[in-house]
Symmetry: C2
Subunit: 321 residues, 2 copies
């Protein structure tokens, strides 16, 4: 039997609530926040349908997907921690509502509760996948911090950040499926590589939308630029722009770091348009999307394959339908 996406999300939420139960007021608030905030549960959905395409046990897939979501939530809680000097321009985060320390400790509690539950499977290979993923997540966030407001961040560093920050949990989903299928080299199995590409696409699409269609992210655009994070569109622009333009970009960048307003709010969008960066990025994304769709179409189970493909296209289409 194949569950509907809606049902997978419900079961995932139930599993998360069960794993996170505890009697501390603060944990209830923050745990509730994590479950209620919902999100699209794209990691659990990916895990479930990918595994079901190979006719693996649905209950175990839901559990593993819920655990990936818990790691994701813990990493968001830790990522939201604010440095004293830092101003947050976005929506209130758990840090803002409960204080840095509560967010950090709640993240630790989430993580350890998740790992404890995972350990009940008594499968050290599962644990391998999770500890690798958590290590990669923190390393990627640290790497990104190390290159905060570093306009010289190169494509290789950016790729490492993307792989560690986002792709890693999708890759983990694919590795877990590979373990369930009995594959020895599960970290490099076909399903793990599919997860890696899926996750890369997910992050690169976000980076694209931040510059070119932020309405679909439900947030203000150009956040990566003003927050001092170099992503693919900016890398392309810096390569294409002339000397004087590069200097102007640098000035705007420094204004962002100093929390002063950009003197010319339209500078970056204008240059992006001049050099056709949106088209360049979306062509790249569509290539990647095509590769993923080809791999998805090769999955064995018809029903699961159809749902995963449909969800992928619905959630992750580069352009609005």
């Amino acid at each position: 039997m194949l569950l509907s996406p809606r049902r997978v999300i419900q079961d995932t939420n139930k599993t998360i609530s069960r794993i996170l139960q505890g009697d501390l007021k603060i944990l209830k608030q923050i745990g509730g926040y994590v479950v209620a905030s919902g999100g699209k549960r794209i990691r659990p959905l990916f895990t479930y349908y990918l595994g079901r395409a190979y006719e693996l046990d649905g209950k175990e897939l839901v559990q593993l997907g819920a655990l990936l979501e818990i790691v994701h939530a813990a990493s968001l809680l830790h990522d939201d921690v604010i440095d004293e000097a830092e101003e947050r321009r976005s929506l209130p985060t758990a840090s803002k509502l409960h204080g840095n320390k509560a967010a950090v400790l709640a993240g630790d509690h989430l993580l350890s509760s998740g790992l404890k539950h995972l350990n009940s499977f008594k499968n050290p290979r599962y644990m391998d996948v999770f500890t690798d993923a958590i290590q990669a997540l923190s390393a990627a966030e640290l790497l990104q911090m190390q290159h905060h407001f570093d306009l010289k961040t190169n494509a290789a560093v950016h790729a490492r950040v993307v792989d560690g920050k986002t792709a890693v949990l999708f890759r983990a989903a694919g590795a877990l499926v590979a373990i369930m299928r009995g594959e020895k080299d599960f970290e490099h199995a076909e399903t793990a590589m599919l997860g890696l590409e899926f996750g890369r696409f997910f992050q690169l699409r976000d980076d694209y939308l931040d510059y070119f269609d932020s309405a679909r992210l439900k947030k203000k655009g150009l956040q990566d630029f003003t927050n001092g994070i170099v992503t693919r569109p900016l890398l392309h622009l810096l390569k294409a722009a002339g000397k004087a333009e590069q200097t102007a970009i640098k000035t705007a960048w420094i204004a962002g770091r100093k929390h002063t307003d950009l003197s010319d709010q339209k500078l970056v969008p204008r240059l992006m348009e001049k050099y056709g960066i949106a088209a360049q990025c979306s062509a790249e994304l569509e290539d990647l999307q095509q590769q993923i769709l080809t791999k998805l179409s090769a999955l064995p189970g018809k029903a699961a394959r159809e749902v995963i493909t449909e969800e992928f296209q619905k959630i992750l289409a580069v352009r609005a339908a």
Copy 2:
């Protein structure tokens, strides 16, 4: 063969360095800070000699002790995270030197690196002990936060904080030894209970010294009071004091919360003296110490038993020698 305490510490530091290696600048700095800061390595020493008393494998004991120390260091990094409103009166912490976010992410990296190494033992019972401990640590810190500047914190809550915040890692050491000995109910084994008492003693002694002999902690006294944490001496004092005195304590407490100076710096020490709280607390500690010494004297291996007893008395004596 029984290693000397000095050698156990050296081997522990080597193990920690090996586990934490990575190429990120920030990790090197913070990792170095953790190893260099040294500390007394009391958790690894306890683990090693307790296990060696049962003639367990010394190399494995050093590894497990080093992993407990890594969890301890990660928890310190997360515990040092500062809320914007909060002022730190003590020495510079990793948070202060590198920012909250770097400290949090470095803590995550430490923790995941440690768990990854632990997983290489392929013993889910070890993992049980560690995930339980990390969960208890974060829950206890959250509980303490929930009762921050809460003068009504009762003895039961305080006991839960002590057990979760400090005793848990010593209990874990004892549980790990029990697993190595092949005991099924390792969380409640004799060695785990010895660890629990040892850890309680460790924390209660700290709480005692904070009021009555802070020089031995190498820090300013009365930090728990001014930081809004209720410990055993204050619990005893509140019970003993008269109505008017209780009101005066409350006023001083509120001054601490508001970061204003205590109007009467000597009030609390004076009342502590008036009611003989130091003697009351040290009598309790000596009882607990006696219980621990009795248990230590029942350990089988003579050489290990002697070192663990000597170290316990050297490091943890209630009164300076």
